[in-house]
Amino acid sequence: MSVMDEQIARLRAAAEARIGAAADGATLEAARVALLGRRSELTQLLRGVKDLPEAERRVAGDALNRLKTDLAAGLAERERGLALAARPAGAVDLTLPGAPPVPLGSLHPLLVVLEEICDIFHSMGFTREEGPDVELDYYNFTALNFPDDHPARDSQDTFYVSDAVCLRTQTSPAQVRVMERRTPPLSCIVPGRVYRNEATDASHASEFFQIEGFSVDRDVSLADLRATVQQFVDVFFGAGRKIRFRPHYFPFTEPSVEVDMACASCGGSGCAVCGRTGWLEIMGAGMIHPNVFAAAGYAPDAYTGYAFGLGIDRIAMLRWGVDDIRLFYENDLRFLHQFRGAW
C-alpha cells in the first residue's frame, strides 16, 4: 500500500464518520465544505497529482476522484435521510399531480372564433341576428342583386332542395330579411353555417361558417367601413396590423372590396402562409347596392350602408396555424383538446 493509498483510506474513514455524525442540515453543509471545499485536504491532494511521478499519476488521480464521487453521494444520501427524519407524521409526496374534480372539456375552435368575433362587433353596437340554413333562392340570390341565370351565380355552387329553395351559400341573405323587419339605423352581425356544393380538400369544406355584418343609416360611408374593419382587426389580431382594400366584385355591394391584412408570418415580404403576396385576405365587403335596399323596400337614396362577410374557418386556420380545414369537421378529440384553453 502506497503512502497515497494510506492517506486516501484515512481520509475516507474520517469523512464517512463526519457525514454520519451530522445531525442537521447546517452541520452537514459544514461537512460538505470541509470535505469537498476548495481548501479541503481532498482538493489539495487532487491539485498535487500533477506533481507526482508520471507512473503514479493516473492511479492516484483515479483513486482520489473515486473518493470525491463517493463522498458527494454520501452527503446526498445523508441529506435525504435527515429530510426524511424531519418529515411530519402523515406527510405526502407533494410532487404528485394535482387532481381536478372533473376532467376538462373544450369548446370547438370554430365556435370560439365565431363567438369572439361576435363579441367584438357587439362591443361596437352590432346586434346579433340569425337566418335560416335552408333559404329561399330569392333571399340568397335575387334580393341580393344576383340576376336570374347570371354568371355571378356560378361562383357559388349551390345545393338546391327545389327550384325555389336552396341551402344558403352565404350569410348575406340575412341583410334583406333583417331590413324587411326593421328600419335604420341598424347594425347587425349574423353568424351561421353556409353550404357549397364543392369537393372538399385541405382548404375547402362543403359546410363552413361565415359571419355577415352590416350597418345601415342615413350617411354610412365606405370610410366608416374601413374604420370599423380596422378596429376589428386591431382587437382580434392585435393592434398595428395594416389592412388594405382591394377592389372586387360582389353583386350585392357597390363599390365592392376584398379586405387584406398584412401577413404576420413574414411582415409583408411574402411567405408560404400568404402565398408570397405579403397579404392575407380576411373578408369581402362593400357598400350595400341600391337594388338590395330596393328589395328590402327602402326608398331610393334614403339610406346608405356597408356590409362585410368573414369566413370563420379561414380566420381560425390563420390564428392557430391549422393547415387543413377538414380537421375542424373530423372532431378528433386529440385535435379538439388542444383548444381546451380557448374560449
Binding site: 369548446l107 353596437g125 329553395v165 353555417r193 369537393a199 374604420a227 374560449w343
Partner: protein
Amino acid sequence: MKISLDWLRDFVTWEGDAESLASLLTMAGINVEGREEFTIALPGVVVAHVRETARHPQADKLTLCQVWDGEQTLSVVCGAPNVRADQKVLLARPGAVLPGGAKIKVSRIRGVESQGMICSARELGLGGDEGGIMELPAAAPPGTAADALYGFRDQILDLEITPNRPDLLGHFGVAREIAALTGAMLTAPALWTPPKTSSERLEWSVEIESFADCPRYTAHLARGVKLGPAPDFMRNRLLAVGQRPINNVVDITNYVMLELGQPLHAFDRGKLSGTRLVVRRAGQEREFTALDGQTRHLDDDHLIIADSAGAVALAGIVGGSRSEVDASTQEVLLESAFFDPLVVRRGARKLGLVTDSSYRFEREADWNMVEKAAWRALHLLQQHAGARIVPDRVDRQNPDRESLPPIPLRIAQVNRLLGTEIETTEAVQLLQALDLTVVPLGQARNRKSGSANVMIEVPSFRRDLRAEVDLVEEIARLRGFDRLPTDPAARGARAVAPRALDKVRRRVRAHLSAVGYSEIVTSSFLAREDLERLGLADGDARRNCLSVRNARLEGETLLRTTLLPSLLRILRHNLNADLDCPLRLFQLNRVFWPGARGAVEPSRPQEDQLPAEPLFLQLAVAGRTESTPAGLPAGLWEVKGVVETLGGLIGWSLEARPGDSEPYGALGRQWRLEEAGSGPVGWAGELDGAVLAGFGIEAPVCVAEVDLTSLPAVLPSLAVRPFSRFPAVKRDLSLLVPDGVTFAELAAVIRERGGDCLESLELFDYYRGKGIPAGAAALGIRLKFRSAKGNLKGTTVDKSLALVTEELAARFGAQLRA
C-alpha cells in the same frame, strides 16, 4: 384567364416587371391567381436532312433513315408514316430533353440502333400531330438549332376576371385597363378593311328569327384559303396561354377572340347547303353533332345557326362537325355576332358545356367589337392563309336596339358613399381615363338628370356600368382605396343587449365545457341508411327529410331531422382512437323539420316551403366509466344529472318522465324531458346496443338532448331568499325497498312526512346483490333538517324521522336495514 405579357405589349407598355404589373392589376380588382414563365426551349434538337430511307428489316411500319445533322450522318429509326427521303426535319440528338421530359438516348428499336429521334410537333410542344413528324421548308439549313427557329420565352399571368368585367376577357381589354390605370398610351389593333376593288357579292343572306335572341349577326367570306399551320408568333402565343394550335384558320379565330374578346366562328363555305343562314331556336331539331364529334341533344331553348339542311352551329357555344374547317377547305364563311347572354347561358348549361365562346357571350360581348374583330380576323386570313377577302358582307342588326342612356352622377352622393371630399373635376378625370365620356348637362337636360352634376356616357365595352353607384365604384377604384379617410368621426355607439338565446347558448357551452364535455361541429347531412339504423318507425316524422337534389357526393344528401347519426359517427371515430374513456361530447346544432315552420313576418309566398330549424343541444357519454351511485350505469345518471343541473342554472323546470318513447333507446332506460308549459322538449337515455352496433360502436352510449328553441329563452330572474344560519341535523336512512317502488315515490313521501324543517334529501348509495334479498334494493338516503327559527333538537328530528319511516313501511313495505 391566361395573359401573355408579350402579347399585351402589342397594345401598351408599362413600367416595371411582371411582378409590379401583377400588383397593379391586383390593386385594381383583377386578382392574379398565378404567374408563370412560358418557354419553348429545345436543347439538343436541330434541323436535319433525311438523306436516305429504307424499310426496317423487322417491322413494316418503321423506317430506317440516314440523317445529316450538319456535322455527321446518324442512323435513326422513325415510325411516322410521312417520313421520306430528301425531307427537312427536326432531329432530337442523343442527350436532348423534350418538353415532356423524355430524354433521348441511343437505343435499339426492334434490333436496330437508333441514334436519335425525328420529332413531331406534339413531341416538341409546338402543336398537334399533323399526320406524323414535322416537315420543315426545304431551305432550312441542317445543323440549325431548333431554339433559333422555335425558341420562345414569355411571361404569363393567370387573371381571375370577375363576371362583371367581360371587357377584360381579351388581351386588348386588359391593355386598355392598364392604360387607364397608369396613364400609358394605348395602341389599338390596326383597323383594316378590305379594299373595295371588286363589286363581288357575298351571295349569302342571313335571317334572324328574333332580335331578342340575336341582336346582331355578321358574315364575311374569305376565298382561296390555303390551310396550313399558323405562323410561329401566333402558335407561340396560343401555346403560351394554353391553347392548342390546330390550323391557320381555326387558330386565327381563336387568336382574335383571345386578343379582342369577341368569339368568332369559321364555317367551311363548301360544306354549307344553300345560300342562306337562319339564326333561330332549335324547334323540331333534336340532335346536333358538335366539332368535338359528340352528338348533343337539343331542345327549343337552344339557339342554332341553320343552313338549308339544318343546324350548323349552336349559337355562341360551339360549331358543328358538318361544316368544320379541314384540309379540303377553300372558302371560309366567318361569323361574328352578338348573342343574347341569357340564351347562350341557358343553352350551354343544358348541355353541361362551357366553351371559351359561351363563357364570353354569357357575360355579354362588346357590340362595337363585333365588326372590328371580323375585320381583324379577315386581315390575318389574308396575311397568313393566303385568303382573298370579299369586300361585301352581311351585317344584320336589331334596328330598335336602345343605347344605354347617360348616367347622372351626383358628386354629393359619391362623397356620401365613400366618406370623402372629392371634387367634380377629379371624379370626371378619373372616369375619362376609362373612356367614359361626359355629356354636357345642357344636352342631357331633357333626360332625367335630377340634381346631377354631370351626365356620364358609358362605352359599349363597359355595359356593367349601369347606375350611379357603379360610377362611384370606378372613382374609388381608380383613385385608390388607400386614400379613404381612415379615421372618420366616430358614430354614436349604441348600447345593445344580447339576445336571450345567445345568453342561454353561452351558459350551456361554458357549463358543459367546464364539466368535461367537448364541443363538436357536425354535418347537416345524413344518409337514408342512418334513419334505418336508428330504427325509426314508418310513420316517424323524422323520416320526412328535405333532400338536396344536386349534391356532388352521393349518400349523405338528406338534411338531418335528428343529430344522432352525426354524433355517432364522431363517437365511433374517437372510440377507435384509443382515448381514455368515458368520452364526453356535446353539440349545439340545427335540425330541419319540413312543414313545421311557424308563421314568419313578413312572409314571402314561398316561405312555407322552408323547414323549421330548431336548435338542439345534445350531450353524450360514451364508454365504460366508474359508476356513481354504485350498481347503476353511470353515463345514464350523468346525462340526466347534467341536463337537470343545466336546467336549474338556466331556469328551466325540466321534468324527466320515465318511458320508452324512442326506438333507438334501450328498454327501460329512457326519459322524456318535459318542460312545464312547453310540453315535451327532449329525451335522455341509454342507446340500444343493436342500434349502436349498426353504427359500428360497441361501447355503451348515453345521450340527452333538448330542443333549445322550444324552451323559454329567459335566464332565471334570481331573487335572493333569506337563509337560516342555525346548524343542520343530518340523519341517514338505510332502507330495503321492494322492486317496483320508485325513488320518486319514496322522495315524495319523505318530503310529505319530513316536516317543515326537512331541508334536503340526497341518495348516497344504491345497491343490489350480495347480502340483499332478491326482489329488493338497498338505498342510502341522507336527510338534512334545519330550522329557520332556532337550533333543532335531535329529538324533534327523530320524531319526524319516525313519521317518515312508519309511512314508508306502511305504504311501500320499505324496511329500515339493521
